[in-house]
């Protein structure tokens, strides 16, 4: 049996939250720079350049790249050799609270969706857990803003709708979103499972490394074909028109019922704020 010290876990989570808000993934920056070279309109070029300039300012000055520092979302893979003599959930919430307060991040969470009273520390975070083999705690954090999250959609297609139905729904979602989710975007797609599994697939697709490819050959082909189809829409950076609407498409699939074809599209803005840490268990 191994464990992870509560205080160091809280400190890790706090730092992950602040780092995600202020330092943009270099892979995203590289894609934005490549896209700037591809664009021909000055408006599109200027938007892409501004985004890269903004990333540099945020990093140098240690201030959030975007004012919407999001809802905190965690994906934990918990090694089966780990034992926690405290509430893991409570520790993640405490790290979140400290990160949003100490990092001067915006508190964007209201306690009840209709009453809408701010919780003032951006808790509660949304925490997903999965079990894994081994003695490590794998923590993925995403600061998910509302601009892109609000444009995400899920539908229950029929098997007859097939691949065309999936593609049509994805493209319709991107068209409806227009400039609202701050393109260029990253698109996470879940296909299969059931209602809630499909949404989870789409979200976890966004958590994959930007430069990887889906393991399944059908999903991999869809990633490439949909990226091309989305960029052919001409929406462009901030919907000012252009070639760069989407930086990457990620597709995750899962087996489903003989009668079902669930599809979920989760949109991520260009400020793709994610951090990933693996903590190794220590002897109890």
């Amino acid at each position: 049996m191994k464990t992870i010290n509560r205080d160091s876990l809280i400190q890790t989570v706090r730092n992950m939250v602040i780092q995600a808000a202020t330092i943009l993934n270099p892979l995203v920056i590289q894609k934005l720079k490549d896209a700037e070279k591809q664009e021909t309109s000055s408006l599109a070029k200027n938007v892409l350049k501004s985004i890269c300039d903004n990333a540099a300012i945020a990093k140098n000055d240690n201030i959030p790249m975007c004012q919407d520092t999001g809802v905190a979302v965690f994906f934990l893979h918990i090694g089966n050799e780990l034992f926690f003599p405290y509430s893991l959930y409570e520790a993640i919430q405490e790290g979140t609270r400290q990160g949003y307060l100490d990092g001067y991040l915006r508190k964007s969470v209201v306690a009840h969706p209709l009453e809408r009273i701010n919780t003032k520390d951006n808790t509660p975070a949304i925490i997903h857990t999965e079990l894994a083999m081994g003695d490590t705690l794998d923590i993925c954090f995403a600061a998910k803003g509302a601009g892109s999250e609000n444009m995400s959609r899920l539908t229950m297609l029929t098997p007859a709708d097939g691949e065309k139905g999936v593609k049509d729904f994805v493209l319709e979602t991107i068209r409806l979103a227009g400039g609202k989710p701050c393109p260029p975007i990253i698109v996470g797609i879940g296909i299969g499972g059931n209602f809630e599994k499909c949404a989870y697939l789409a979200k976890t697709a966004l958590m994959r490394p930007l430069d990887d490819e889906a393991a399944n050959p059908i999903d991999r082909r869809l990633e490439n074909e949909l990226l091309e189809a989305i960029n052919a829409l001409g929406i462009g950076p901030m919907a000012f028109g252009g070639k760069t609407t989407c930086l990457q498409v990620k597709v995750n699939s899962y087996p489903c019922h003989i009668a079902s074809l669930p599809v979920a599209v989760n949109i991520q803005c260009h400020a793709a704020r994610e951090t990933h840490v693996i903590l190794k268990g220590e002897d109890l």
């Binding site: 201030i63 975007c66 004012q67 001067y104 068209r175 400039g179 252009g242």
Partner: protein, 176 residues
């Protein structure tokens, strides 16, 4: 590149054309969903407003907290479509220039044309860069709304693009 000083008179506003890039300097007022709700409630009750609308500019933003020595934190635009129902009422009450991001409803555009208003956009997700254009920030209403409170910002060369001009030409029509 056109440079404009706020408040903006009618002739200048009507001369703005879709797609034009503009640098704004002077006072602008922050307000997003909840502040708009209260502005509309004040209008309905004929109560005094936190600022006079004539010639003024409203910016849809909810900044991050300011660090010591800075007037403001990250302060990029939020999506405008959520504010459409309130904007229609405020345009009729004399607020004619708004800054946000993204396309808006047909109802909004119709009211914009009727009131000869102008919708400007800032680039979304560049709040750190935009914070450098803010010289001072003064909270003037609804402090309980925290990041959604109304703040009077003094800006210098705040970059915007004309998204919908006063006759209804729309930047987003070209791409969507």
């Amino acid at each position: 590149m056109r440079h404009l000083q706020t408040p903006i008179d009618e002739a200048t506003r009507l001369a703005l054309r879709v797609g034009e890039e503009v640098m704004l300097s002077g006072i602008i007022y922050t307000a997003r969903d909840q502040a708009h709700k209260r502005l509309v409630e004040s209008l309905n009750k004929q109560e005094p407003l936190p600022f006079q609308f004539a010639g003024q500019v409203v910016y849809y933003t909810g900044p991050t907290p300011a660090k010591l020595g800075h007037p403001i934190g990250s302060c990029g635009p939020t999506s405008s479509y959520r504010i459409d129902p309130y904007s229609i009422i405020l345009m009729n009450a004399g607020l004619k220039i708004m800054i946000g991001k993204g396309n808006r409803s047909e109802e909004f555009r119709r009211s914009l044309i009727q009131t000869k208003s102008v919708y400007l956009v800032a680039v979304g997700g560049i709040g750190a860069l935009l914070s450098k254009t803010v010289k001072t920030a003064k909270l003037i209403a609804y402090p309980d709304l925290q990041s959604e409170a109304v703040v009077e910002l003094e800006v210098e060369n705040f970059p915007v693009i004309v998204a919908t001009d006063s006759v209804g030409n729309d930047l987003f029509d070209r791409s969507n």
